[in-house]
Symmetry: C2
Subunit: 350 residues, 2 copies
């Protein structure tokens, strides 16, 4: 039987960092105070480093601006994006904790259908601490939730599940649409609260959004690279997507799980669709080749660590996607630099 | 953009049959009257053919008992199970309609969270008439539902989707658990209403339950064989599972979709777990070999119709599962008989 998760959820306050990329004062933290105050925050300041970011009183945090990133990484700082929220992955690298939760500064506390504030972090922790079931679909969704289990016909040998590496949360109010969809449906709001968590099956890719995302650094951290976006790059708004595709093929290869669904946050405002279109249009085009590439990637058996998988993936990116545009060659090199920088700041996991 | 489904749902009353396997009077239809009365019912009477099954007044139906099945199919009647709800698939075969909805006679109308009666059939029709998205996961679930769409990062080339062959509905109250889970959690009730429909990704198997199930006969009918169960057979309660595994590999091969989630029905009572254990125990054991078999099945390119796929599958069942138990050789033969009988009663689709 699946173990019902009606035990109190551990806070993990000494094992989890909250990573926030920002260009403005962090007033949004006021609303999160009851849930975030016990945790350590890693704030990655994007844009002008001379600007002072105000953090509400009482939060324990460290803040890195571009000067800090350049100082800490030296020439390897080239792998960290500038003027794009992709810079957040620097926070993943400098954290020393087992778990990361990352959230955008335009995301607020959502309410569940009974009107209660949703403790998003608690739900992410639940998701990460219970197993995933990537090898067979359970029609009653997460079998480890209270009141649920594996249904008739679910093989018993698969009921232990696999460790969960990623918990992907969703958004009420402003949905995470691309620019064309934003333009066509400017008034669409997500009001549907779907009370489910589920494992994304092995072999299936998904669009991972970085707005409300938690992961186990020890299991998958080095693959959570948000790529080269923003200043000086031909695309934006594909940072989290890129990370998601890499993460999914690597978790599939290593026998780890990715969950999506609860928790919801309240996404307060849509970004400008015209600006977004400019950032996205090459991605929309390139994606038609990138997806088949990731769907067909296979990693050799001797790739037994995330780092090894990621380096192998960078080689295949260079070889297979490089011909599409010189950007991918640059990105493949940045993937290697990222791993070198990661290993410099962290004891390699192998 | 995905087309929102806020148009009125077509009733399809001349294109859909409701198939009900039963051994008792169909009083349960009273509760379904507002939703089912416009449709034609195909009642498959299991067990003693001399028993008279009462059908509430005002329903349009045809009823087949074992004598009818034997008369219509002759020696081929051997492929239709007796003393097991697997006999329902005879109803799929004699229907002349494009769509089938099948429901158990212990399933009642459920209520949604706002207290309204759920028109299960209407939701199944919505599911079947909108596309499926098996090649990439959409984190906001069915992108064709009103208020939803494809999220950022979903490849545009995949947004048309593929035709939906199967709509798998769920159950409130008594969940569809196997005997061991029933025994361990006798009091567990499903009270969680998950407001979602989603496509089961390509390459992923699922436990298909026959309690609340709709499908497109023209697209997948000949694969909806519920196998040999019950009287004279070593197992029971794997009829719908067997059909589901066969259906999923064939829909994957043919580029069709399978949806699961809404609608819910109210499943009124649990069957006896001790009786179920007796029926299931060989299945629980065999399943550990059956699942890897189905996970690894590949169908050759020249299998371009459901019938061809199914005959090919029967050969592989005989070859790969036959060595486990003589039952699978018998089942593989019955799969062929089923297709012969189907084609006798239906114009072959090729």
């Amino acid at each position: 039987m699946a173990e019902a998760s009606h035990k109190p959820v551990p806070l993990l306050k000494d094992e989890l960092d909250i990573v926030i990329p920002t260009i403005r004062n962090l007033d949004f933290l006021e609303m999160w105070r009851p849930f975030f105050q016990p945790y350590h925050l890693i704030i990655v300041q994007d844009g002008d480093p001379s600007k002072v970011i105000k953090v509400p009183e009482g939060f324990d945090y460290e803040l890195y601006n571009r000067n800090d990133i350049n100082r800490i990484l030296g020439p390897k700082a080239s792998c960290i994006s500038f003027k794009d929220s992709a810079c957040r992955c620097f926070g993943y690298m400098v954290s020393k904790k087992k778990y990361i939760y990352t959230i955008d500064d335009d995301c607020f506390v959502a309410k569940d259908p009974s009107g209660h504030d949703i403790n998003a972090l608690e739900q992410h922790i639940k998701n990460l601490l219970s197993s995933s079931t990537p090898y067979f679909f359970n029609t009653l969704y997460d079998p480890y939730r209270e009141g649920a289990d594996f249904v008739r016909g679910y093989p018993f040998s698969l009921r232990e599940g696999v460790p969960t590496a990623v918990s992907h949360g969703l958004w009420l109010n402003i949905p995470d649409y691309d620019a064309p969809t934003q333009l066509v449906k400017p008034r669409e709001r997500n009001t549907r609260y779907v009370d489910a968590v589920l494992t994304i099956p092995k072999g299936t890719l998904f669009p991972m959004c970085g707005m409300n995302l938690a992961f186990d650094r020890e299991l998958i951290g080095p693959a959570m690279y948000f790529g080269l976006m923003g200043d000086g790059q031909p695309i934006g708004r594909y940072d989290d997507m890129w990370a998601g595709w890499c993460v999914k093929v690597i978790t599939d290869h290593l026998g780890l799980g990715v969950k999506t669904g609860l928790p919801y946050i309240w996404h307060s405002k849509a970004s400008n669709p015209f600006v977004n279109l400019k950032k996205e249009y090459k991605g929309i085009f390139w994606q038609e080749d990138i997806i088949p590439f990731f769907q067909n990637v296979t990693l050799p058996k001797d790739c037994t660590s995330v780092q090894k998988c990621y380096i192998e993936l960078s080689k295949q990116v260079k070889e297979k996607l490089g011909p599409i545009d010189p950007y991918f060659t640059k990105l493949a090199d940045a993937m290697v630099t990222w791993i070198e920088a990661w290993d410099e700041l962290n004891t390699p996991s192998e």
